[in-house]
Symmetry: C2
Subunit: 228 residues, 2 copies
Amino acid sequence: MANQKNENRNKNGEDGGLRAQVSPVVVRRLPRYHRYLGELLREGIYRISSAELSKMMEVNASQIRQDLNCFGGFGQQGYGYNVKFLYGKIGEVLGTEDGFRAVIVGAGNLGRALAASHMFERRGIERIAMFDSNPAIIGKTVSDLPVLDVSELEAFCAREKPEIAVLTVPKEAAYDVSVRLAEAGVRGIWNFANMELKLDEYPDLYILNVHLGDSLMVLSYGIRSRMK
Amino acid sequence: MANQKNENRNKNGEDGGLRAQVSPVVVRRLPRYHRYLGELLREGIYRISSAELSKMMEVNASQIRQDLNCFGGFGQQGYGYNVKFLYGKIGEVLGTEDGFRAVIVGAGNLGRALAASHMFERRGIERIAMFDSNPAIIGKTVSDLPVLDVSELEAFCAREKPEIAVLTVPKEAAYDVSVRLAEAGVRGIWNFANMELKLDEYPDLYILNVHLGDSLMVLSYGIRSRMK
DNA sequence: TAGATTGTTAATCGATTAACAATC
DNA sequence: TAGATTGTTAATCGATTAACAATC
């Protein structure tokens, strides 16, 4: 069994500390590692080498070692990686331990679908409320969440200080709501509105624009190119 | 006004023909160009240079010219790009003219949310049916779509020949259903199940795994890194 | 024609992969 | 210790950007 004094080798300081800039392409690969490691854990596999993981994930073993090393030495020479430890570390890097809290703004079909999923809790994120402007649903409860009037957004955020806002409002409302959220101190917006949000005035705000429609077009291209 | 004999310059043959291999990173950028061009069109702007588009989209102008040139010379020296023409061309490249038809398998929250969106029709894709295994909803109509028993999947596909399947079933059912869809002749699967589909036995099948949860984790990382 | 802007080649930058010394 | 496998440096590959000749 590997001992786990790995933290000592983390070149970028302890967990709370500032990290050297990590490339976004690496960050985007981390959740996939996390998923595969979670799967291994469920299968009762507690140890894995970059070569084995490489085969499973169809990713080059060098890349795996490089990626994981951006955040410190999580493995052990001659042994490989401790699955549970690595899973936990990647989770930490991705913020699952930070106890973020989320509001969902827009209780339409997509908002309700996201609210109903276990996606948030699985990643250590607590959903705390939904907001909408439709009087017909304000006051109701959707997937254990109260649906509040969007006019209460500022007061609620001042009180509860959610870090995350999921934006599932119509395109037309998206910009307005996002500014209000930014002003209210939200730190990240997960934007599903079919418009690209960019709020340069709030450099501390992280916005992730999803664009499912773009994904659908890539699918369409993929089909087309395979049919030729 | 630019004349539009641009097609002649398409190095990779006419539209129906086989194209030189285009890098996936370029393909993933195309929908974004398409969106911005659609927006310009709506604003009544009919002509744009790579430099102007570059400024709007915060993408290097060289990259724009390189990207667009993968599919043929869509612009005109000294003039720029004809917005309408370019919009149409990118749409064609992405398959909006191919009249693809889609079924949605899994009429849960997410399936219904996708069914209700205008995402498909906007991209020239026709939704033709939903499938589920829950007797409580089979036979109903959701967003104008009949909800059919998933046991009818094969018969339906043999008859209607949809190219696209949207997979919004629970993780446990995903693999099974995907094989059935592949056998039934579907050409592309848009997979929202929280598991990575890979069907090597069907090389003509294009699978796009979405993983919203991964996106949420990237958001979480983004927030975390901005808070330091 | 002169000016503008593309298409395209060449230069740079960054990401991936290979190789191997360090070390468990 | 010998064997295995990481961490890390160096080599390769691909993607981005710059530059400019072609041309509208």
